[in-house]
Amino acid sequence: MGTNLTIGKAINAGLRAAMEHDPKVLMMGEDVGKLGGVFRVTDGLYKDFGADRVIDTPLAESGIVGTAIGMAMRGYRPVVEIQFDGFFFPAANQTFTQLAKMRRRSAGKLSMPVVMRIPYGGGIGAVEHHSESPEAYFQHTAGLRVVTVANPEDAYWMIQQAVRSDDPVIFLEPKRRYYEKAEVDTGASLAEVTPMGAARIARPGTDCTLLAYGPMIKTALQAAEADTDHSIEVIDVRSLSPVDYPTITESVKRTGRLVVAHEATLTGGPGAEIAARVTEECFYHLESPVIRVAAFDTPYPQSRLEEHYLPDLDRVLDGVDRAFAY
């Protein structure tokens, strides 16, 4: 059962499957109803499942996440859409102090099967606050699972896995890749497909490991292709919390080099954690320090500068070169 889907449509199909499978699954957010979301990711769900299950909420992110927590306590499985990355922050308190901690503080008596879908990342020529990459804030917050997808296949399955999880899942959607298309095997079963927490070797190689996720996977693959001097292994880490270190360290022990690329700002970005951890685990195998290729430590700039701000093919290749310079 293969279908050619974009990432956006694959998430849509995955959400539909989740809603069909479990009547407790709800959609909540701004404009997720009739409009189907500003990126149309919930397109058609309002029509088919009604206003009780696809809820156009008031314009208040804290309210959305806070009421989703209450719904989860009542046995529902809300899938919350935060319209853009930059609009997550009003919900920071409910996410970090409540959602992430509820299970632990209730000693397991309460579960929080809430998915927070966030279109993230830049490169779409948008105005301020529409191009942020806030994943490090989530990764640093114990109690959350953090995943992101880079292709339609993962989009379709991982959103369903996220909905099935009894933990709060931050589901990061690479907005500038929403329209990337590929074959999705919708006939497989959830139990069979790769688990949400596992990293994936997107391209095997022998000389250097290039780790990325979400929107940067395409760039990473292009870089691996472009660098004809080296054989580059590309890992799509997929889950930022927890990170699948065995897959990564196995690769790095083979290649001896690791480059991590992401759109989040450098300082304290996910690359920092991965570099620190991998260095600890692969100390005697590394022929160079872990090289990070990331956005600069400035606010996301006006869009006419974003091509320089975001790590692009050249910056990633430069990072690979730096790794080989040792």
Binding site: A72, R105, S106, D244
Partner: protein, 371 residues
Amino acid sequence: MSETAAHEEPELIQLLTPEGELTQHPDYPLDINAEEIRALYRDLVLVRRVDSEAVSLQRQGELGLWASLLGQEAAQIGSARALREDDMAFPSYREHGVAWCRGIEPKELLGMFRGVTNGGWDPHEHGFHLYTIVIGSQALHATGYAMGIQRDGAVGEDGTAVISYFGDGATSQGDTNEAFNFASVNNAPVVFFCQNNQWAISESLDRQTRVPIYRRAAGFGFPGVRVDGNDVLACLAVSRAALDNARTGNGPTLVEAFTYRMGAHTTNDDPTRYRDAGELDEWKAKDPILRVRRYLEQNGLADEAFFTQIDEEADRVGEQVRTQCRSMPDPEPLEIFHEVYADPNVHIDQQRSEFADYLASFESAGAEGGR
């Protein structure tokens, strides 16, 4: 200041005067018998005793902190006794009286303030959520829960309602106001029960609002009502009406229980730094327990034996609280890693096992004579 406000404003619902006289209110008829009033009296006395024991235990170093409900017993008992079993309450951190009514054992509350748990009870079993410390957060949880009730079709005569507790200070928080709005727009079956105890730590009410709190509701499109928070009967009647409104599909109500925090904010606080003793005296005259006792006495509905019996019961409860508190075992170190996630999590598992090894290394080191 709040005093004057109360006198100027006729909208304060009261059924039992400080002198112990029972009155009637056309909008809030209360059908209650002597036995029920005696039961309320018992609740009031016992939770006050639990509270004062907890304060002592904190002084003795048995608790890290305690937030006393002194003065607010009627607001809590009145509203909580209006709840049906299936109803759900979302407390703040001072609702020991509500917890009592919901069948939470005092030791569970003490466990949290002792630092042994973060609230050990099962919210579902008791219809009583965990204490919420980040001000205002729980108002949204309550509203979401109420929206879940709507989706369950559990609205109607036998419907389920939700009550969310918070203080006067909490009305300033964005979350509380967002909750008002979500509840209003969705017509959710939730009662917002604000215990206006006139203070948010050291800040008097005028730092939080320029108008009486109950009026906030109208701005969001639902009714607000101010009740004498030291009058357990009025709190019961008003809460019952509001809860019934909610459960039958008539949407939210904001109840402002006008009361007073007789003690410190918490055992860490020193209210003499910021408020006059005079205020205390004024409110002492409106004590929530005394007026019930007066009513029972004046109407011959309880004799000395009854009051003695309750006091003895209070002594036993106090004794039990002390014993239970002192005997509470500390959690095991590895509990740090418990229930962080529901699904298996390799990362936590690894940290747990590393830490277990680390701890074990001391034991073996200890056996060998140590570092």
